[in-house]
Amino acid sequence: MSELTFEGVSVRFGGRRHGLTAVDGVDLTVPGGSVVGLVGESGSGKSTLARAAVGLAPLHAGRILLDGEPVRRGRRSRPALQMVFQDPYSSLDPRMTIGDSIAEATPRRGPARRAEVTRLLDLVGLGADRARAYPGQLSGGQCQRVALARALAGDPRVLIADEITSALDVSIQGAVLNLVREVQRELRLSLLFISHDLAVVRYVSDFIAVMYLGRIVEYGPAEAVLTDPSHPYTRELLAAVSEPVSTGEADPALRAVADVEPADPHAPPPGCRFHPRCPVGPAVLDGRDLCRESEPVPQGHRHLAACHFAAGR
């Protein structure tokens, strides 16, 4: 069991003037053998954080550690971190049989390789006879299984799953979720599970991290975050999945806040990044100018929340 740690990780894209800090000083730990669910809206930097971990996005600052050691990356070193992507069709080379795709990712050579491919296909619930199929001949759910098998081929210690069910049809999502959970438990993998769907994250995760505009705003054991959300943004996400849609607030200030457009990541608001949309922030309540001026740091007794007025503080 391996622990994955992000320490002050920042990722920037673009030049100095028109650049954008997609991930900004993120500290996050995926404890060994457990599942950390990462939620947040599109553009909040979830995928970028994941891609930084596997070396697909350049780090601007900070470190990524695996069991306290910086993640090594190179031609020869065995990739201890593997990733499964969102789009099942673009994540497999259409010109390679799925057997070849999986074989390419195993460190084994020779006859052991074929046995390994068979074992992996079996593990993800596909028959070994499928090894000679091309991705175009499989359904989306089956492609996602192959992608998982390929990720497992590298004997990873940590797996990152980025929105792996959001491109699948509802009746297939469940099967893929079951499989990921099964494999994670069986192989005692550490798993960073990214999704925009809080219900899905709740179902698979031991810990939940909530991301907003490049920052982690709340982090803690799944139970604690869900039953006792401290950050107003987390509460809003929870309300979105569990409460019926109502015509809206009577209070005009609250209504205005509820209709604010999502912020522009090129120019994040000063102070607390959530303040223009916060229902308990300076736009609604008096005497909360602090939110506009200084950025809250994650803290708390039970779990971490980056809010000056976190519930229960």
Partner: protein, 330 residues
């Protein structure tokens, strides 16, 4: 239904005056391109293997003559100095002297340019005037697999016409209308009749390509979501086609139209030679064969600048038609 959230992210960071930034960036690109063009024209002569003066004067010329000519052309100076002189000359309007005629290059060009411009201008006008209605009309007529025979006839005709190079078409036209029928003059530039064949030879190919492209573009635009929206608004067909479909079909076409116009500028070289048209095209071929390098250099600059201006026009037209392009441009 599948959700690919990442694919649909609103464009962010749209602030300030997009047009000003577009103009500034586009101008910078034009200047860089002109600089590259001028440098390429300057280097062209120096890239010729061996001594261009020796090449031009032939192996029998005496060494003294070669030296004298070298000195006259400034070729005995260091390369950077020659470059500086060349740039300086261009700025003051001095493009050198034609070896063949002894006339200033700019004078030769000024004499020949109008004939070429007329040719390309008329040809482009005709290509556009013919292809737009034909292409859009064919799209509407042959939508969703209707009138398959018409479609086949149109597609094959336009493929063949688009594939015949202008100079061969020119030869064919000369044969049919000049030799066989004797309707119009086949050489020189004298009177309206002499324009008919060269302009046709230049216009037919691009018109065929444009019409075919416009049909395909119109077809794909007609399937777009916003056309469905327009129909959901119950707008009359006329408005759906002209207000919602045409501008979008044109944006893709204009890009190719620009390429075709540039290609037409180049095509004049061949067509002029078939019809002995007194333009830049005949002049550049004569001067390449006669190794009159200053004149070649000058004409290359003219053609290159024409192409850059066409590209500029295309980008401006695109920006006017499609507001997104002022942002994409970078």
């Amino acid at each position: 239904m599948t959700t690919l959230l990442t694919g649909v992210r609103p464009p962010r960071g749209f602030t300030g005056n997009a047009w000003t930034r577009f103009a500034a960036r586009r101008l910078a690109r034009l200047l860089i391109s002109v600089w590259v063009l001028v440098t390429a024209a300057f280097l062209m002569i120096h890239l010729i293997p061996g001594d261009p003066v020796r090449v031009a004067l032939g192996p029998t010329a005496s060494p003294e003559l070669v030296e004298a000519r070298r000195a006259a052309l400034g070729l005995d100076q260091p390369l950077w100095l020659q470059y500086v002189h060349y740039l300086g000359g261009l700025f003051s309007g001095d493009t050198g002297t034609s070896v063949g005629t002894g006339l200033p290059v700019s004078e030769v060009i000024a004499d020949r340019l109008p004939a070429t411009l007329e040719l390309a201008g008329y040809a482009f006008l005709i290509a556009v005037v013919v292809s737009v209605p034909v292409g859009v009309g064919m799209a509407v007529l042959t939508r969703r697999g209707r009138r398959r025979k018409t479609e086949l006839a149109f597609t094959s005709t336009s493929v063949v016409l688009g594939a015949v190079p202008e100079f061969l078409l020119a030869v064919g036209l000369v044969y049919v209308f000049g030799v066989q029928l004797g309707w119009v003059p086949v050489a020189g530039r004298s009177g309206l009749g002499s324009y008919v064949l060269p302009v046709l030879a230049l216009a037919v190919g691009p018109a065929a390509v444009l019409a075919r492209l416009l049909r395909v573009e119109t077809l794909s635009v007609l399937e777009a979501d916003y056309i469905r929206t327009a129909r959901a608004k119950r707008l009359p067909d006329r408005i759906v086609y002209f207000r919602h479909a045409l501008p979008n079909a044109l944006t893709a076409t204009i890009t190719v139209g620009g390429l075709l116009l540039s290609a037409m500028v180049a095509g004049t070289v061949l067509v002029e030679n078939v019809f002995a048209w007194p333009g830049l095209g005949t002049t550049i071929v004569e001067s390449i064969i006669a190794k009159d390098y200053p004149l070649v250099q000058g004409i290359v600059l003219v053609y290159g600048t024409a192409v850059l201006l066409v590209n500029l026009a295309v980008d401006v037209a695109l920006a006017l038609l499609d507001p997104r392009s002022t942002i994409k441009e970078s």
